[in-house]
């Protein structure tokens, strides 16, 4: 239990800070977006940090969740919470459909996953499906618009996800996943259920993104396919996680806080300059600090949350 204290403390601090900001700060959309990116970064951390699979098409789950939510509201007249259930189901279904991709390794997996996200986008945005998805013309969910409630839902999801990551980090499960990442064959010989655990991590990660997508749809309520399938969601989640340090709790939080902060300072007014800084940051990171900022501390033997 004592080992858990720093992790739990950090999680509690983050949740409290977001809540305070939401209620005290005028720009509540900004606070909401921060929350969404904390979720996406931790969700990606669960799969990349512990299994080594880098899902470049992570946004596919986010978009699927957003449209799962939208379809439930538009066609079934669902209330927001059941619609979120459908968002999660959409993400899980997509995740299950894509489990065969886990047979691929390294760059093959990343590319195939990117192509899969692209394919989902093209199906949803297809004019031929206009009666169902409104195709490229976007959806409006004004009937369920509720910024405060959707923010609280995001906060709850973040809390849950932080719990999952803490459990992965400190428990046998995360250890087993790292063993699989290091050497799947040895893992099998150690009696670890390799396929089952990989799929589990994959689905947890997919579910997190899909629920985040559903909540996002609920919060912004009017959006187009490009909005929720924007590759930036994948990219941001990946860069935030790598920047801070994967397989830690604080790494993705640190990355998201610093870089999404930077994005809001300069990214919105001069996106090209932001993209330039971003690209340079990634290159420098991969060359000089491939395991993220926190590796400066962990390599010296400090135990960071």
């Amino acid at each position: 239990m004592r080992r858990l204290l720093p992790d739990l403390g950090l999680a509690a601090f983050l949740l409290a800070a977001l809540t305070a900001a939401e209620f005290l700060y005028r720009n509540e959309l900004l606070v909401f977006n921060f929350t969404i990116f904390f979720i996406l970064a931790q969700g990606l951390n669960a799969i990349y940090g512990f299994t080594g699979y880098l899902p470049f098409g992570y946004v596919g789950f986010f978009g699927a969740g957003a449209y799962g939510f939208a379809l439930a509201v538009m066609h079934l007249g669902s209330a927001p919470l059941p619609a979120l259930g459908l968002a999660g189901a959409a993400g899980l279904a997509l995740g299950l459909l894509l489990t065969p991709l886990l047979r691929l390794s390294g760059a093959y997996f990343a590319i195939a996953n990117l192509a899969a996200a692209q394919a989902v986008y093209q199906v949803i945005a297809n004019p031929a499906l206009e009666p169902l998805t409104r195709g490229p013309y976007g959806v409006s969910l004004a009937s369920v618009f509720a910024p405060r409630a959707s923010f609280l839902a995001a906060l709850a999801l973040l809390a849950l996800l932080l719990g999952v990551v803490i459990w992965l980090r400190r428990g046998e499960m995360g250890l087993a996943l790292k063993a699989i990442r290091d050497d799947p064959l040895s893992a099998a010989m150690a009696g670890i259920p390799v396929v089952r655990l990989r799929v589990l991590a994959w689905l947890v990660s997919a579910l997190a993104a899909a629920l985040a997508g559903g909540i996002y749809a609920w919060h912004i309520s009017v959006f187009y396919p490009e909005t929720v399938f924007d590759l930036s969601f994948s990219v941001f989640a990946i860069v935030f996680t790598l920047f801070g340090g994967a397989a830690t709790l604080s790494g993705p939080i640190l990355g998201a806080a610093l870089l999404y902060g930077l994005y809001n300072l300069i990214g919105i007014t001069v996106p090209q300059y932001f993209q330039l800084i971003y690209g340079a940051l990634i290159v420098a990171l991969m060359l000089f600090l491939p395991r993220g900022l926190l590796s400066l501390l962990t390599d010296r033997g400090h135990d960071v949350p």
């Binding site: 040895s186 010989m189 259920p193």
Partner: protein, 247 residues
Amino acid sequence: MTSPEPPAAPPLLEVRGLVKRFGGFRALDGVSFTLRAGEILGLVGPNGSGKTTTLNVISGLYAPEAGEVRFAGRPLRGLSPRARVHRGINRTFQSPRPFASLSVRENVRLAARFGGRDAAPERIEALLERLGLARWAARPAAELNTGQQKRLDLARALATRPRLLLVDEIAAGLNPAELESMAELLAALAAGGTALLVVEHLLGFLGRLTERVIVMNAGREIFEGRLAEASRDAEVVRVFLGEAARR
């Protein structure tokens, strides 16, 4: 040194007529032998003769094209490596394969927990002690040298409580003192009832463990019998002299 079992007891491992092809190439071409509980069988042969492939087939990494493997009287066909681990089969690797980013203790603990279903700390510490790894227990496995990593492979295998242990060239790269304690350890395992299939190039080391060997060449057994007699067998001599000449 092999403990004479009552002849009625069924063998623990029965291997019959294994054939394993890679493309058009036959890596195993009809391999058969049996092994009883508590017995040690040596498997020798020149490079590429199919020794590791034999272990890979028994541990379930490759499915054979023909032949069968029975363990404790039941066929293993179709079982995954992990299912075989749970039946009581484990192995070490010719070049060790630790979980590099985990600590030595975590390596063993995972195998004890998932493979042996008993991760009692005392058992793990005892295993680390027995394999001479206790001093490195908290270090990342990546930092161990090859000899230590081979012992870690063995510790992980033992943590799953195997009844049959497949050992692939564990002596290569060990110093004399390490060889001595490794031989003692393996002999003690056999004395405790574990069956051992030991692939080994170092015949001196093997001779300390067992008299009974199989000599393989090009996927076939060319000799089965006493180690001392193998060196007088014409074909064995030809195969090994041929190899010596190639080097």
